[in-house]
């Protein structure tokens, strides 16, 4: 019997580093060049990067795709991300992916919420929503303003300035709004997600919410959305050993027909229905 001929479609790819840009003190955006990944990756999917002397690869959501290039956003936290921060133009990296399942894009008025480095897949998702002309509002919730460098070519920086009276800042991208919440108040609304989410939901009236961020934030979003009967898709993370679904290291309990079942975040997810996650 003849085997399928297309092997190695998910790598390892040796990819070129194009740039490594500072978004804030500890947050960076890395741009890589690789046609296969750029052509196939969907918002919510991730790539797994070999980080120098570390035994295990580190997973990162893809944050943006343009032509043959793709981006990731990372926060410098441990050895792996420290290694990433050392990469510069013309360096290469060993990457596998795209891995996991992306968000299910529906033509519904949507609220896209990214918290912390969880802005990465949300940024990519919003770009696709824009291209598909699906009505959406982006909500980024970060410690400090990381967006000025995130949206290159975004001229209307006025709207990123601190708004008064807790009002949602002006629209910055065509018909869709970008709302910022920064803990230090350096842009958009000051405070944390729970200070503003109810207001934003009441104003935007989303039919669906997509989110990525720390678990407590996503859990809060799911609970808040439930009150408004809005379905939520969450992109989860956890330490992965394989990232490909074989090791069973990253399983989480998900409600399936009202019974808890183990699902692998890396392979069955990382995107799940918020209402099904047993946090």
């Amino acid at each position: 019997m003849q085997l399928k001929t297309q092997n190695k479609i998910k790598g390892p790819h040796i990819v070129e580093v194009l740039s490594n840009i500072k978004l804030s003190d500890d947050t960076r955006k890395l741009t890589f060049e690789n046609k296969t990944i750029a052509e196939t990756v969907k918002p919510g999917q991730f790539v797994s990067i070999l980080c120098e002397d570390l035994l295990l690869r580190r997973p990162f959501s893809v944050a943006y795709v343009k032509d043959d290039t793709f981006e990731i956003i990372y926060k410098i936290k441990g050895k792996g991300t420290k290694y990433l921060s050392s990469l510069k133009n013309n360096d290469s990296a060993d990457i596998i992916g795209p891995l996991g399942n992306g968000f299910n894009i529906e033509n519904k008025n949507s609220l896209l919420i990214g918290c912390g480095v969880g802005i990465a897949p949300i940024n990519f998702l919003s770009d696709i929503f824009g291209k598909e002309k699906i009505k959406h509002t982006i909500l980024f919730c970060t410690q400090t303003n990381v967006t000025l460098n995130l949206f290159q070519g975004l001229s209307n920086s006025q709207s990123l300035l601190k708004s008064q009276n807790g009002q949602i800042p002006n629209q910055v991208r065509n018909d869709n709004s970008l709302v910022l919440i920064t803990e230090d108040g350096s842009a958009g609304l000051e405070g944390r997600l729970n200070n503003h989410l109810e207001n934003i939901i009441n104003e935007v009236k989303p039919e669906k919410i997509y989110t990525c961020g720390p678990n407590p934030a996503m859990k809060y979003i799911v609970q808040t959305a439930e009150k408004h009967e809005i379905p939520v898709e969450v992109a989860l993370e956890r330490d992965f050993a394989c990232g490909t679904g074989v090791c069973m290291g990253c399983v989480i309990q998900i409600k399936e027909n009202d019974k808890p079942v183990n699902k692998r975040i890396c392979k069955d997810g990382p995107v799940f229905k918020g209402s099904e996650v047993l946090w």
Partner: protein
Amino acid sequence: MPDLIKPDTSVNIGKLKLKNPVLTASGTFGYANEYDDFMNVANLGAIVTKGITLNPRTGNLQPRIKEVKNGLINSIGLENIGSHNFIEQKLPVLRDNNINFIINIAGESVEEYVELAKICQSNNIEAIELNLSCPNVKSGCLEFGKDEETLYKLVSEVRNCFDNTLIVKLSSNVSFPERIAKTAENAGADAISAINTVKAMHLEVNIAAAGLFPARNDNIGFKYIKGGMSGSCIKPLALNFIYEIRQHVSIPIIGMGGISCFQDMLEFFAVGADAIQVGTANFTHPDLSETLVSELNNFMKQQNYESLAELVRDLRYEY
């Protein structure tokens, strides 16, 4: 052109004839063709499936994995789909894709191992690997691999109902490796595979400005994981274990424990292994096992080795 002569990399493990000595270790490669996105799985000597139990298991609670320096501690707890689902869903995939495979089986009692072996026999499975050493399940498994008497009983009973290649996977967490290995051989094992993960623990003691965190009387305890360690940090243990048992058994040994490059593979041959399994390194380099196959071929061509047996002979040495 010497290139036209393909060196003979085959090796026999019991009745099982492997086209090359590169296998992938149980629990690191899925059930069947999961790694197809990274290689042609059929190019490998064989894959060893995820450990299969009679009934499905949901495994342990989180945390299940922790990376340590050059190693990985796991506490998966044998989560698997169970023998019935495996035979129904995965066996056809293995056969349709011409993947050579060995089924790793784990039981909680002698009866369960025997029942699993019978299921394998009735499905004409060519080879099974008895998981006698999983450190992450509370009953069964590990205990069978420690005590010579129970090991003998278990292996011989499985032997009585399974005609094809029977491999016994051993733990290094034993006082007398050579006795355990010899017992497996005497009980009818066709081969030994070693080593399984090594019992290990990781915890984090945090010190804050005010002293210990959490504080002494918070009664929260420290974050910890107990499990089995794998990765390159266990390679020296594995090499020594295999070297020690090689002197005492004549059946083939499938060596594993921290293999992450071609050189590592040769080291295992040198101390007594006849074939090897790549484990944790599959996570880091998902195409490593296939790369080892081609590196072995190239090396043998370059060095004019016609057969693997010849190469292994040259590597062996009474250390």
